[in-house]
């Protein structure tokens, strides 16, 4: 199924899902053994389409899944098999091996051939994958967030083990890997933000003051600065690696689904339920509305071009992708009409 979008200048693009796994940050951080951030040229834009408005499992009006767009192309092409409720995606790329992952309602999908073929790595015991985070060094290690907890495989998906020691409520929206240490991960959970420093064996609550946590981000150039947000309580921020948290200004009770920043961290964006696009130029300490997003109820995903921080993409809930070339002053449709776009990434 194809969607007609508009022509985009310049580069080929890849979209990635809301609150993406740490890989995006790793692109920006020299401390982690990751390849250099992809140049837009030669890369593709990947969009994780959760669902198309009005569709339902078993219905013939699907068309959701993982989509790829190319430079100066008005058509998005689905590369996942048939319709798959897609919550997100991730990339493993160590320079020798490149693997794409989809976090989907029916499991973790993996492609080792650029999206030509896919294999579901999980069994019936590990479904409703909300977020997938591959280890950046060891391709056999993958973490996933699910409504039933954090699961981890150390054998490339052959077996999965629940890793919830220390987290009391089982719904986990998001996992974030610290770009400084791949054994340190953060989980967006129902009662708080949780941190593990031993690769998921034990978790400790971070005292963020949040419940129903949905979004997490570390500043790309200063990972000790972390933002967290969820239902109802605005954005909470720590500048000391989680020892202390305070409320960000200007977003008192906003419901935030996603964060994204420019590569240098000077521009930070957030969005969620009826928030429009929010921006911050002080690493998330204070926020202002960049764009009211008229007619758009919610925004699930954001993307900032690494080589052009003025170039923004917004994945909406039901209205596809919106695009701005001028720091969010003016906007136009970038395709996938009628879709809910959970993550946007640029991948090689």
């Amino acid at each position: 199924m194809n969607f007609t979008g508009i022509s985009r200048p310049g580069w080929t693009l890849i979209l990635r899902m809301l609150f993406g796994p740490a890989l995006a940050l790793m692109f920006f951080d020299p401390l982690v053994a990751q390849p250099a951030p992809p140049k837009a040229e030669g890369s593709r834009l990947f969009a994780a389409v959760f669902i198309v408005r009005g569709s339902v499992s078993g219905n013939a009006t699907g068309g959701y899944g993982l989509y790829v767009g190319a430079q100066n192309d008005t058509v998005w092409t689905r590369i996942s098999r048939s319709s798959t409720l897609t919550f997100g995606l991730a990339l493993f790329d160590n320079g020798r091996t490149r693997r794409y992952y989809m976090a989907a309602g029916n499991g973790v999908h993996r492609s080792t051939d650029g999206g030509k073929s896919w294999k579901i790595l999980t069994s019936w015991r590990t479904e409703e994958i909300l977020c997938v985070v591959p280890d950046p060094v060891d391709s056999s290690v993958i973490y996933v967030a699910t409504p039933f907890g954090v699961f981890k495989t150390v054998d490339d998906g052959a077996t999965w083990e629940k890793k919830m020691n220390g987290i009391p409520a089982w719904f986990i929206q998001r996992i974030l890997m610290d770009p400084r240490d791949r054994r340190t991960l953060y989980a967006a959970a129902q009662t708080d933000v949780f941190r593990t420093t031993d690769a998921g064996e034990h978790w400790q609550a971070m005292g963020s003051g949040l419940e129903q946590v949905l979004a997490l981000m570390q500043m790309p150039q200063d990972p000790g600065v972390m933002l967290a947000a969820g239902e109802l309580k605005g954005i909470r921020r720590t500048t000391d690696g989680g020892k202390t948290w305070s409320a960000a200004r200007g977003v008192d009770s906003a419901i935030i689904y996603t964060f994204r920043s420019s590569r240098d961290g000077n521009e930070v964006y957030a969005a969620g339920w009826k928030t429009g696009l929010l921006g911050s130029s002080d690493q998330g300490a204070s926020w202002h509305q960049v764009w009211p997003a008229p007619g758009i109820d919610a925004i699930y995903s954001l993307f900032v071009y690494p080589d052009d921080p003025a170039h923004l993409l917004v994945g909406t809930v039901g209205d596809g992708i919106e695009e701005s070339l001028d720091h969010g002053v003016t906007w136009r449709s970038a395709g996938l009409p009628g879709t809910q776009v959970k993550q946007i990434e640029l991948y090689p």
């Binding site: 078993g58 098999r81 048939s82 798959t84 999908h109 109820d297």
Partner: protein, 619 residues
């Protein structure tokens, strides 16, 4: 004498049966109170043939027309053509899987090699989605298991999901065993659904008929026995008796519209003839209902209470327990059934908490009430998406969800207390919630609907009488079916002619602290309608209706003293009712303890035991 039957369906015993009744133009039910097993089977074969006769000759195409032709060995090239044409553009995910594999398994020894190749290719190139509910998973894994058996030893590159035949077979088998285990220990999650019964029955029927693995064949057979037994003792005149986990409009007020009623007709001979596609594959199959279950379905010579324990669908947010218990209570007579769940949010969207159904006056054979509630929090309990957008997502496919006039759905502000044929329903509704009213459904074809000065609403539906005492006043509205209600939301067209457009009646009360006391009797139980009315006029519920303190004291027509305080204090004749002791099944016919993985089915001196710990069926 104990007889172990493995891995085949238990052979039938000959027994006396009560009279079946069937209407319409199809063959009548043949099993009566004096029917033999042979007579029952003769009637069954006629009904099965009637169902498939449409598909035997239909030129409409599709999987079912192909399946029927394959099964009956006629017009095979047409079947090949239909099957191949349907597979040009597979769609429907797990709803594609079962008709596809059903047609294939009925015809694999008769279809052309080219058609076989087309089918095989479909399982390589079309990727059906697993879905997100229990019925989806039953369909998905049962048919995936069968497909993996049909094409063993293939690598992952030959399957839509990249898994090998062995991986798919193992995954599907493990899930199905898990589902059967949890269903037989703490109950089904998507339980007693008139609209989704078919999805489970088809899945188990296919396993029973076609699984090569003897253990899975036996499991399919036993689980189909289990599902049909569960239905049989809460079935009246083809209707499932509520409450239910899930039901759509308009079947909630036209009960025979539900696919489960097609199963009642096929297996029990009750209700109305149907040629629904939802029952075709079982009608083509080799499974035959154990006689004892048919007897239970049709013997209404004595009234009885059935108590059952089910479970809430997986709770992923806002809860401390993944699958809290559901307590179902049903009172069954030959004229009516009154049933209820304890109330609260037990299933998203389509819960039917309580209702009366009776044999008089098709198609509107029910009276019930509800608090029409919706919220993103309710959906967030069960669905993994971000919470706020969920309502719009759900309404896209279930348009009545946020309609203040809807007739389905549970509410956190509703609780019930049922004692035989009396039910008290209480509401303590939080101000500002989705709706600040409660509604009662009264069908258009009641013989009597008296708004009595005593405060009672006195209704007569043939030999069934219903008295409804609203604890607060309200207004009546006459309503017609809306166009959206003419077709069942799962796509089944309304096939029972609509009666005159005189309108059904809605009783709406807008007090937040509210409720009703409902007494039901039949002519056989109390005599004349006048006597019933006189009895009710002589009694009044005593209610306290304050926020946080809602309660009722009421003495029933039978003299039972009921005290009910919202939410969960239930006292009968001075004794506190503890719902937590409710067994998995507890009634005159079905008996199962929580955690047992066993179901004992009794009827008179006969007994049939389903033991999932040993995979045995024992008579």
């Amino acid at each position: 004498m104990k007889r172990i039957v493995f891995p085949f369906v238990v052979s039938a015993c000959v027994a006396a049966l009560p009279i079946f009744h069937a209407g319409g133009s199809g063959p009548a039910g043949t099993a009566g109170s004096t029917a033999t097993r042979e007579e029952y089977l003769g009637g069954y074969e006629q009904r099965a043939a009637y169902i498939s006769s449409y598909y035997d000759t239909s030129m409409a195409g599709g999987y079912y027309s192909a399946a029927a032709r394959y099964a009956h060995g006629k017009d095979l090239r047409t079947a090949d053509s239909m099957f191949a044409a349907a597979l040009k553009e597979p769609r429907g995910d797990m709803f594609w899987m079962f008709p596809c594999i059903g047609a294939y398994l009925n015809g694999k020894d008769r279809m052309s090699p080219e058609t076989k190749a087309v089918v095989r290719n479909a399982w390589k190139t079309y990727a059906p989605y697993r879905g997100d509910t229990e019925n989806h998973w039953a369909m998905y894994y049962s048919t995936l298991f069968l497909a993996a058996e049909q094409w063993p030893d293939l690598p992952g590159s030959e399957w839509y999901n990249g898994k090998s035949s062995d991986e798919n077979r193992t995954d599907a088998k493990e899930y199905l065993i898990h589902w059967m285990e949890i269903a037989t220990t703490i109950g089904q999650g998507e339980f007693d659904s008139p609209d989704y019964f078919a999805e489970y029955a088809i899945s188990m029927s296919l396993l029973a008929d076609f699984a090569s693995d003897p253990g899975m064949k036996q499991r399919g057979t036993m689980m189909l026995d289990y599902l049909l037994a569960d239905f049989a003792d809460e079935q009246l005149d083809g209707q499932y008796l509520g409450g239910f986990s899930r039901i759509y409009q308009p079947a909630v007020f036209k009960p025979l519209l539900s696919p489960a009623s097609a199963y009642a007709w096929l297996y029990f001979g009750t209700g109305e003839p149907s040629q629904s596609g939802w029952v075709l594959l079982p009608a083509l199959g080799k499974y035959r209902l154990p006689q004892i279950i048919g007897d239970i379905a049709t013997d209404r010579s004595h009234a009885y209470v059935e108590r059952e324990r089910k479970r809430v669908r997986n709770v992923i947010r806002f809860g401390n327990e993944k699958n809290p218990p559901v307590y179902k209570y049903t009172y069954v007579t030959k004229d009516y059934g009154l049933g209820s769940l304890q109330g609260g949010l037990l299933q998203p969207i389509q819960q039917h908490t309580w209702g009366l159904r009776y044999t008089y006056g098709r198609p509107y054979t029910t009276i019930f009430g509800l608090h029409p509630y919706w919220s993103s929090e309710e959906l967030g309990m069960f669905f993994p998406e971000e919470i706020k957008p969920l309502i719009a997502d759900v309404v896209a496919s279930k348009s009545t969800y946020n309609n203040p006039d809807k007739w389905t759905g549970g509410s956190p502000f509703e609780r019930t207390f049922q004692n035989r044929n009396t039910i008290i329903v209480l509401y303590d509704i939080r101000p500002g919630t989705s709706t600040e009213h409660i509604d009662g459904f009264f069908p258009r074809n009641l013989e009597e609907r008296i708004i009595d000065p005593s405060g009672w609403i006195l209704c007569k539906a043939g030999d069934t009488y219903c008295g409804w005492y609203p604890l607060e006043g309200g207004e009546w509205t006459e309503e017609h079916d809306t166009p959206g209600q003419v077709k069942n939301a799962i796509g089944r067209p309304e096939d029972i002619a609509r009666s005159g457009e005189t309108g059904n009646w809605r009783f709406r009360s807008t007090n937040l602290q509210n409720g009703e006391v409902v007494e039901v009797r039949s002519r056989a139980e109390i005599g004349s309608f006048g006597k019933f009315c006189a009895g009710l006029r002589a009694r009044r519920p005593r209610a306290v209706l304050k926020p946080g303190a809602v309660s009722v004291d009421y003495t029933t027509l039978a003299g039972d003293r009921m005290r009910f305080a919202f939410p969960d204090t239930r006292v009968l004749n001075g004794k506190t009712i503890d719902l937590t002791t409710t067994p998995l099944f507890d009634g005159p016919f079905l008996h199962a303890a929580v955690g047992s993985r066993k179901l004992s089915i009794t009827y008179g001196k006969r007994k049939l035991d389903l033991d999932f710990t040993k995979l045995t069926i024992t008579e």
